[in-house]
């Protein structure tokens, strides 16, 4: 090869350094996703053998007996997550809208601060709060208290995402709406919210995923229940609490079911996350 076609020495050195740097970055990236892969594969290998139709349709079996499932816990989780969504999503959306659109108002600044604080409150504290305000006065563990605790966890997440998305919407859209002679509330609710709807939906999904996996706020609010319950004033089983109860029990059979429950829970959360990504991607195209 003639000399003119070969990289000069200094360029070869740069090339080498670049490869080393790339290699280091890849190693660290691998370290970052390694825990996720390990958790997922471990849960799958431990949970999958115990996962069968019974798990989804049967009630828990009494201690000592084999078989049984977590059907009531799955139903309870769905019930409480839906309830908490109903309680948290509309105010969360409006909160985020208000903070994003009226940043100069004092109340908006205060609200933003409160929302930030709420994001940082440990979920066990939220559970305690719900216990003190909704369990003790109502005379016992109940599904409503559990839903309320989950709602308190969801609300700041929904509000923050809504706010962040709305800030990205160009002000020309607001002006376009106002210049059509539309009142501000219609511009905000029907035009601006609509322009950000899929990104906001992503935030809502993430909040739902977060609430689905919470255990601490449910431990002393909705507590647990070995049977079916659809009453909001009764204790109700939920997937995370059932996993917790089974995991700390001395029975091998219950441990197996706890693994199966974990697999279901992780898959649900994973699916919701994935769905929201797809949604976001579709909307940005």
């Amino acid at each position: 090869m003639s000399d003119t076609l070969r990289l000069p020495r200094i360029q070869r050195r740069r090339h080498f350094k670049s490869m080393v740097a790339n290699g280091i970055i890849m190693i660290f990236a691998g370290m970052a996703i390694l825990p996720l892969i390990m958790v997922f594969s471990y849960i799958t290998s431990s949970g999958l053998p115990s996962l069968n139709l019974d798990f989804f349709v049967k009630l828990p079996a009494p201690a000592g007996e084999t078989g049984g499932g977590m059907a009531n816990a799955i139903a309870g989780s769905v019930l409480m997550v839906v309830m908490s969504g109903v309680m948290a999503i509309p105010p969360g959306l409006l909160c985020g809208l208000y903070i994003a659109e009226f940043p100069r108002q004092k109340l908006a600044g205060a609200l933003r601060f409160v929302i930030d604080l709420m994001t940082g409150v440990p979920s066990i504290v939220i559970g305690l709060f719900a216990y003190a305000t909704l369990v003790v006065p109502l005379g016992g563990f109940n599904a409503f208290a559990g839903s309320a605790a989950l709602a308190i966890i969801m609300l700041p997440v929904v509000s923050r995402t809504t706010e962040e998305i709305l800030r990205l919407i160009p002000s020309q859209l607001r002006e376009a709406g106002l210049a059509l002679g539309l009142p501000r509330w219609k511009v905000l609710l029907r035009l601006i919210m609509r322009a950000g709807r899929s990104a906001i939906a992503t935030g809502v999904f993430l909040a739902i995923a977060r609430a689905s996996g919470e255990t601490a706020p449910l431990l002393f609010t909705s507590f647990n229940n070995q049977y079916w319950s659809s009453s909001l004033s009764e204790p109700v089983a939920s997937l995370p609490v059932q996993i917790y109860t089974y995991a700390i029990s001395p029975y091998e059979e219950w441990h197996r079911l706890a693994w199966a429950g974990s697999l279901v829970l992780v898959s649900v959360v994973f699916t919701i996350n994935l769905m929201s990504r797809v949604l976001l991607k579709r909307s940005s195209n």
Binding site: L173, E175, A176, A179, L180, G181, L182, L191, R194, A195
Partner: protein, 256 residues
């Protein structure tokens, strides 16, 4: 004083601020019904700010203030009980950058003002959408893609879509803030043609940096400089025999 017979908008002593900076100083200007009035002047001279004072859009920016009166058909739009929403539905606006609503189709964009205001049936809206698109000379190009996203149109079509959207709510005055500055010459030409057609039904106030454009399309021209209105008169007179030296200098390209 305003001559109610002919002028539809009369600005009286309008000043406008951004914080402590006064961008527009004491403007008195009449717009005759059915005219096209062009506001010209170098960047930062306050012409866009003044335009936004005419339908109360200036106050939508944080920390701004307006003083003076703007009479629309004799009534002060800055009066105490006046609803800016009502003002803007009579005095519409088209912006520099085409800004169709991104999640809406072509037809939904045009219908947005009507639909959100309410009180029209679906078939009424369909008719008004077609009428507005025809007025904006866009119907033939989009009649087969009414359900395509508004943002899928070309830049010039998007701007005409925005004009159609503004026209659909049937304003009597249309304020246009450099509507062609983001467009190529062919799209610009189409919008200019459109304006000469539109002036039969609406009064137009247009801010433009393009002096040939002002000369081609306007009946009246006002020249702004550093927040003040230097001169206002018939377009022919302003371009052929300006009374003030600053106007002459600007028009002949000696500055700005």
């Amino acid at each position: 004083m305003q001559n109610l017979e002919t002028s539809i908008i009369a600005a009286e002593g309008i000043s406008a601020w951004y914080g402590n900076h006064r961008a527009v100083e004491n403007i008195n200007l009449d717009v005759k019904s059915g005219d096209v009035l062009a506001l010209i002047g170098p960047s930062g001279c306050g012409k866009s700010t003044f335009l936004r004072c005419l339908n109360r859009m200036h106050e939508e920016i944080d920390n701004t203030r307006v003083e003076g009166r703007v009479l629309y058909k004799g009534e002060d739009i800055y009066g105490e009980d006046v609803d800016p929403v009502a003002v803007r539905s009579c005095i519409g606006m088209v912006f520099q950058k085409p800004n169709p609503f991104p999640t809406m189709t072509v037809a939904e964009n045009v219908a947005a003002g009507l639909r959100l205001r309410g009180g029209f049936s679906r078939s009424e809206i369909d008719g008004m959408v077609e009428a507005a698109l025809r007025k904006a000379a866009l119907w033939d190009e989009v009649k087969n893609k009414l359900r395509a996203p508004g943002t899928s149109l070309s830049g010039g079509q998007q701007q005409r879509l925005c004009i159609a959207r503004a026209l659909a709510v049937q304003p009597e005055v249309l304020l246009m803030d450099e509507p062609t500055s983001a467009l190529d010459p062919i799209s610009t030409g189409r919008i200019e043609e459109l304006m000469t057609e539109l002036k039969k039904s609406v009064t137009i106030v247009i801010v433009t940096h393009n002096m040939q454009q002002a000369a081609r399309i306007s009946d009246q021209t006002a020249f702004f400089l550093m927040g003040k209105m230097v001169e206002h008169g018939d377009t022919e007179q302003i371009f052929n025999a300006p009374a003030r030296e600053e106007t002459e200098n600007y028009i002949s390209g000696r500055f700005g």
